[in-house]
């Protein structure tokens, strides 16, 4: 026998098993990978799996040595593994001619031995190991599938609109089969739904095609929509057992099938409306003020959702500049850079206010507009971004004519700003020491100002408020003066109250304590905080950084000033003096008195019918019989229910069905009555509390009699 052939067969077997092993291993790697990708990205399984599996498999094929095993290698392996072959397997691979006599003998012997050898178990062992790995991989894959779905995408897929009703119908016995095909409008991209029952849940504008097969020939089949509209079905075969009809739905309602005059139960038609795009602006806030020193940029973050798809979205931005009568508006459309498609989007956009040509004091009004693939438009609320106008704060407008409450304080804050700016401008030209000195002085001014305002809040002072401490240094020509507040007043000699003031320790003035309303005080406090911050920067020789705080303090002060102001228009009306003796002496006999009998308002019929129907249903619960009046109320209540059901079948249709059953005497079940009652009471509005005479118990009758007798005795 030829041992070489045996070895070749073994090599084939070895390679095949190796390829299968590699295949299994590739699957083991590709499967969890696919699961992870699907979990994160929600792509299709097949595409992901193929694109993961193929490269892995090819890589394995390229680098694996087992599939390229040579016969000589195999021979060495056999030599090592089976002692029977006496280390001479490689002899069978050498052509006989090249062997010497002894080798020939040995080769022949080995050839015979080889045929009796079993397949080495190593070949299968690899396969088994790969199988185990695959099993593990499968477990991991399923594990990933059952992980809770993380909402890594707030914008990820919304649930698809489902056109499936959960109601189980009772189909008339005459009908052997009913096929209902629901074709949603193309823009919804919903697939066609086939169902075997009458109750419908369809999207707005969907076309519904019925195919009805009856057991026996029917004379006519009709559909009654909302108990109003009756339509005949078309016969589709000669035997009159196949009927068809189709219709498009825009509104919810219900319908009934009538086969040769026999009515079925009521079936619900629920129409799912297409909603416009839902726009949510996450950033910025509805009102944003960009203060001095802040970047004039607004980061806009928008979330959009729609049931079927968004086709278009943009920002409508209007800038308003100027003031008073010369305000000019400029409107522009800003597009998002992203690609607009899909059912939900998260969009980001940075609005550069400088690029929009905005100056301090200008305002930006913007809203986001979006359109869905049905052409429905929707827009967000209007958002306002304004840039604080520092120039306006510095102006003296309104300060000159009106009530001048505490002008010097405001001038001081403004002065500090002017000085700070001046200092910054002069910084390159003056010495470092001078710069520090002036910055420090400004800080002292800021402190004094703060202390003055602190007085209004009843804060304890470090020094006498309103007076410059003696050691305070002032640089010459710093553009402001710190004249003591009461410079003009001379102290009167012997004024007791003055002396008392000097030596007494008045904590705070009662008047000061009630000087401002709490709201004002809160604002004042905020101003003080800004002043603190400003002072800190000035004292640490950082006037550049102090500037934003100074501006903010000034803006808050300005607000304070405005809020405590009242304007009164001047009037110049002179009235003639009244002659008191002539008052109320006019002749009135020609004046006619009006007397109106207004129209009577009566309760509406429907409410009465509903109220009494519930009472009648309660009677039924007690097992009592109904009167004719009750039946009449039932009739009216049923009409009201039918009307409500045509608009909102999911809430009222079941009630209508049971109400009909109760009226016809088909049901007296407690549960059915309760459902009908529930539907009826949903139709009624809550009555407001009405005036009712307080009930007096009759036992007080005796007391009353006593009271009257007592009175008559008086």
């Amino acid at each position: 026998m030829d041992g070489k052939q045996w070895l070749i067969a073994l090599q084939k077997k070895w390679v095949t098993l190796s390829v299968i092993t590699l295949c299994l291993l590739s699957i083991s790697i590709a499967l969890p990978l696919t699961a992870v990708v699907i979990y994160l990205k929600h792509w299709g399984f097949f595409q992901v799996f193929c694109s993961a599996f193929l490269p892995i498999f090819l890589l394995f094929l390229a680098f694996n040595k087992a599939i390229r095993i040579k016969l000589t290698d195999l021979a060495i392996f056999i030599n090592q593994y089976f002692p029977e072959v006496e280390e001479s397997t490689n002899l069978v691979l050498i052509p006989i001619e090249k062997l010497n006599f002894l080798q020939r003998l040995q080769a022949k012997k080995v050839g015979e031995v080889l045929y009796q050898l079993p397949t080495p178990p190593q070949a299968q062992q690899k396969l088994i190991k790969a199988g185990v790995v695959l099993l593990l991989a499968l477990l991991v894959t399923f594990g990933i599938r059952y992980l809770p779905l993380i909402n890594n995408h707030a914008v990820s897929d919304l649930a698809q609109v489902a056109q499936e009703t959960k109601i189980k119908d009772v189909i008339p016995a005459e009908i052997s089969k009913v096929d209902v095909q629901i074709i949603a409008p193309s823009y919804t991209r919903l697939s066609i739904v086939n169902q075997k029952q009458f109750s419908l849940k369809v999207v707005e504008g969907a076309k519904v095609i019925w195919d009805i097969n009856t057991n026996v020939a029917a004379k006519s089949i009709q559909f009654v929509f909302n108990e109003k509209e009756t339509v005949e079905l078309k016969v589709e075969n000669e035997a009159k057992t196949k009927w068809g009809f189709n219709r498009q739905f825009k509104q919810s309602g219900f319908y009934q099938v009538i086969i040769d005059g026999k009515k079925s139960e009521l079936y619900q038609i629920e129409v799912i409306e297409d909603l416009p795009v839902n726009i949510k602006i996450a950033k910025p806030a509805q009102q944003t003020v960009i203060d001095f020193g802040q970047a004039r940029k607004v980061n806009l973050q928008v979330l959009l959702n729609d049931d079927y798809g968004i086709t278009e979205t943009f920002i409508n931005a209007t800038t308003a500049s100027g003031k008073g009568e010369s305000v000019s508006f400029k409107e522009r459309k800003i597009n998002f850079n992203d690609d607009i498609s899909g059912r939900s989007l998260q969009l980001n956009k940075v609005l550069d206010l400088n690029a929009l040509g905005m100056q301090p004091g200008d305002e930006l009004y913007f809203f986001v507009k979006a359109k869905d693939n049905h052409g429905q438009e929707s827009r967000s609320d209007i958002y306002i971004v304004s840039i604080a106008d520092t120039a306006e704060l510095m102006s003296m407008n309104g300060m000159l004519g009106g009530v001048n409450l505490v002008p010097e304080y405001f001038r001081s804050q403004r002065q500090i700003i002017i000085d700070t700016e001046k200092l910054l401008k002069e910084q390159p030209t003056i010495s470092v020491e001078e710069f520090k000195n002036r910055s420090n002085n400004l800080g002292i001014d800021q402190k004094l100002l703060r202390l003055r305002y602190g007085k209004f809040l009843g804060e304890e002072s470090e020094t006498t408020i309103g007076e410059v401490p003696e050691g305070a240094e002032h640089a010459e020509g710093d553009g402001h003066d710190h004249a003591p507040a009461k410079m003009g007043e001379e102290k009167k000699f012997g004024d007791v109250s003055d002396i008392m003031k000097e030596y007494g320790h008045a904590h705070d003035n009662a008047e000061d304590a009630t000087f401002f309303e709490p709201e004002l005080k809160a604002k004042l406090k905020a101003t003080l905080t800004e002043m603190w911050n400003s002072e800190l920067r000035l004292r640490t020789y950082q006037p550049q950084e102090a500037l934003p705080f100074e501006y903010k303090a000034l803006r808050l002060l300005k607000d304070l000033q405005q809020s405590s102001r009242a304007y009164v228009a001047k009037t110049t009306i002179k009235t003639a003096p009244l002659k008191l003796e002539k008052r109320l002496t006019g002749e009135l006999d020609k004046i006619l008195e009006t007397s109106i009998k207004e129209k009577e308002i009566v309760n509406n019929d429907q409410l009465i019918a509903l109220q009494n129907s519930i009472a009648a249903l309660e009677k039924l619960k007690q097992g009592k019989t109904l009167t004719i009046a009750d039946q009449k109320f039932f009739g009216k209540a049923r009409i009201a229910l039918a009307q409500a059901a045509s608009k909102n079948p999911s809430t009222y249709l079941n009630g209508l069905k049971l109400m009909t059953a109760i009226i016809e005497g088909n049901s007296r079940k407690l549960k059915d009555i309760e459902i009908a009652e529930n539907a009826l009471q949903k139709l009624m509005d809550n009555s407001p509390l009405l005036p009712v005479a307080a009930k007096e118990s009759l036992s007080s009758d005796l007391g009353k009699a006593y009271f009257y007798n007592l009175k008559s005795k008086q």
């Binding site: 009135l588 109106i596 005036p691 036992s699």
Partner: protein, 594 residues
């Protein structure tokens, strides 16, 4: 008996056999002892099978009777005492041989005049039995209150638009949470959760939308088990429309809105507003035209309530004022609205203003008597508050308990003063509900109705099928004996000994549900509950009644010596077992020794 006889015969045969074997044995050691042990072993084995009973005589305190009832906790029942019960179902639940059954307590007590004291364990005695033991010393050991509704009350007649309030106490003895629900018309209307091991005062509120008689349900649910399901019957009645006369010193919006709102709910309203001196503009809604030129008695008799300005009242002439005051004393209501910062008319001057100013414009949140929810904010310029004196009832007040609508009794009627200038802004702000609450509460507080002819009260609170029901009728004073008819049967009413207008009727209901009753051709209805309804309520009622009875009945115990009672007792089987083991053990050991 036969089994015992067979056992005895077997034992004797077995003994004879054993003795024969012992006698015949070759080794004759301890013969006597062995024979004795054999006899003892067999005998004690026999006594294990057939226990020995003997009679003991016991000295019992004379005149004591120990009764146990259902729900008596087993460990509290005294041992070594003769126990009696009135409830045959007790015999099933407890170890029966010790308890004797008394079918009728009063009969038993009459037969045993020596009994002076009763020890009672369990859920107490019914009212009838408590009557029977009056004068006896009662030691009551009550059982714990069962889990369930301890009390429950609601108005059986509700006017339309008024809320139905179901209040009561639920006692939860268990270690689980219990959910209480009020259900009606297939809906859950209100619910609350009762913590384990606690009492809860529940207060359910719902406004029924329907008219006529309905039965709601009060349910107690633990997980998915329904612990209790009780009927809550009530009747919604269309309320009698209050007739209102509005007198305005000048046309204003407050009256206009009030008039339209009242008319919109079908209330008869007449409005007279002064447009000049002695010139009025009048309008009538849901009422026939009347002459409103002057206020006289015949006019006022047609109205239940007058709402008027302070100034308008001040401008009435003396006779008009007298007529108005007289009419209020007869039971009419008057609501005075302040126009100025001072009080003008004599009606308004009965009240006092709070001189403390409240500041300029205030946003006030009003609270109305009997309405837990505060109204939305109402802004009032320069609000003035009122001072309440003894005998006044504040009706509208703000968060700081400053009163803005005050009321006083005036004869049989009431006078109210309102310091709130306008409320229509509530209406305009879309707070129609608040507006309705405000005016409904004020109007309801201003008037009382007494045009009912008779009223009934039913005892017990929850009448049951096949148990007697006492119906107390209160007639209008001066009316003759009422004719009462139930299910076509005339029932003779019994007049109260104290009040001549009170009558009592006893009636045995036959079926569950609404029971109609005719009183002088007028139909009223009450509800008869099923036999197993309100069980826990009844049990706890019984326990409480008995406890109160035992407390009130504190006579000193009577020491009247002891009497001798015979009781059957049993020799413990353990003795025989021990004897058997010893003798059998000796026999076994002796045989091994050889």
């Amino acid at each position: 008996m036969e089994v015992q006889l067979i056992a005895v015969i077997c034992a004797v045969l077995f003994l004879v056999f054993l003795i024969y074997k012992e006698w015949k044995r070759a080794v004759r050691n301890f013969l006597i002892l062995r024979l004795g042990c054999t006899v003892i072993a067999v005998a004690s084995f026999l006594f294990l099978l057939l226990p020995i009973h003997y009679e003991v005589t016991e000295k019992v305190k004379k005149g004591e009777l120990t009764l146990i009832n259902l729900l008596a906790p087993p460990d509290s029942i005294p041992a070594k005492k003769v126990l009696y019960t009135l409830d045959s179902s007790v015999l099933k639940t407890y170890y029966s041989s010790k308890i004797k059954f008394i079918p009728d307590l009063s009969y038993y007590l009459a037969n045993h005049p020596e009994i002076r004291q009763l020890n009672l364990y369990g859920d107490g005695l019914a009212k009838v039995d408590l009557e029977a033991i009056k004068g006896y010393q009662l030691n009551y050991h009550p059982s714990v209150l069962p889990t369930g509704v301890q009390s429950c009350n609601w108005e059986h007649q509700v006017s339309y638009s008024q809320p139905l309030k179901v209040q009561g106490i639920y006692h939860n003895n268990s270690y689980d949470f219990v959910k209480l629900l009020l259900k009606g018309l297939g809906n859950t209307l209100d619910s609350i959760i009762v913590r384990p091991q606690s009492d809860l005062n529940f207060d359910f509120k719902t406004t029924p939308k329907q008219l006529g008689k309905s039965v709601y349900q009060l349910m107690a649910i633990k997980d998915t088990d329904t612990l209790e399901k009780e009927d809550i019957p009530f009747e919604v009645k269309e309320s009698e429309k209050v007739k209102i006369l509005l007198l305005a010193s000048s046309p204003d919006f407050e009256y206009k809105f009030l008039k339209n709102w009242l008319a919109g709910h079908q209330y008869p309203v007449a409005l007279r507003s002064r447009i000049s001196k002695d010139k009025f503009s009048t309008s009538f809604l849901n009422i026939e035209k009347l002459n409103l030129q002057s206020v006289n008695q015949s006019l006022l008799k047609q109205f239940d309530l007058v709402i008027a300005d302070d100034l308008e009242l001040a401008s009435l002439n003396a006779s008009e004022k007298a007529v108005l005051s007289n009419q209020i004393q007869q039971g009419m209501g008057l609501l005075v609205r302040m126009n100025e910062e001072k009080l003008n008319s004599s009606f308004a001057k009965r009240f006092f203003l709070n001189s403390m100013s409240m500041g300029k414009n205030s946003e006030l949140k009003f609270q109305i008597l009997g309405n837990p929810k505060a109204l939305n904010k109402l802004s009032i310029e320069n609000p003035i508050a009122l001072i309440t004196k003894a005998g006044d009832q504040k009706i509208v007040y703000d968060e700081n308990s400053k009163v803005f609508v005050n009321s006083q009794l005036y004869g049989a009627g009431k006078i109210l003063l309102s310091a709130i200038p306008s409320t229509y802004s509530l209406f305009l702000n879309g707070n129609q509900e608040d507006y309705a609450t405000f005016w409904s509460s004020i109007i309801s507080n201003a008037i009382q109705s007494d045009d009912k002819n008779s009223a009934i009260q039913v005892f017990p609170q929850f009448p049951q099928v096949n148990y007697p029901v006492n119906i107390q009728l209160t007639n209008k004073l001066g009316k003759s004996k009422p004719v009462v008819e139930i299910d076509g049967v005339n029932l003779p009413p019994l007049q109260s000994q104290i009040y001549q207008n009170e009558w009592e009727v006893t009636f045995w209901p036959k079926y569950k549900g609404w029971q109609e009753m005719k009183i002088n051709e007028e139909i009223t209805a009450f509800y008869i509950y099923g036999t197993d309804s309100w069980k826990t309520f009844r049990t706890s009622e019984k326990i409480k009644n008995t406890a109160t009875f035992s407390k009130s009945d504190d006579k000193s115990p009577i020491n009247s010596g002891n009497i001798i009672e015979k009781r059957e007792s049993e020799v413990s089987k353990w003795w025989f077992f021990l004897l058997f083991m010893l003798s059998a053990g000796f026999l076994w050991f002796e045989s091994r020794r050889i």
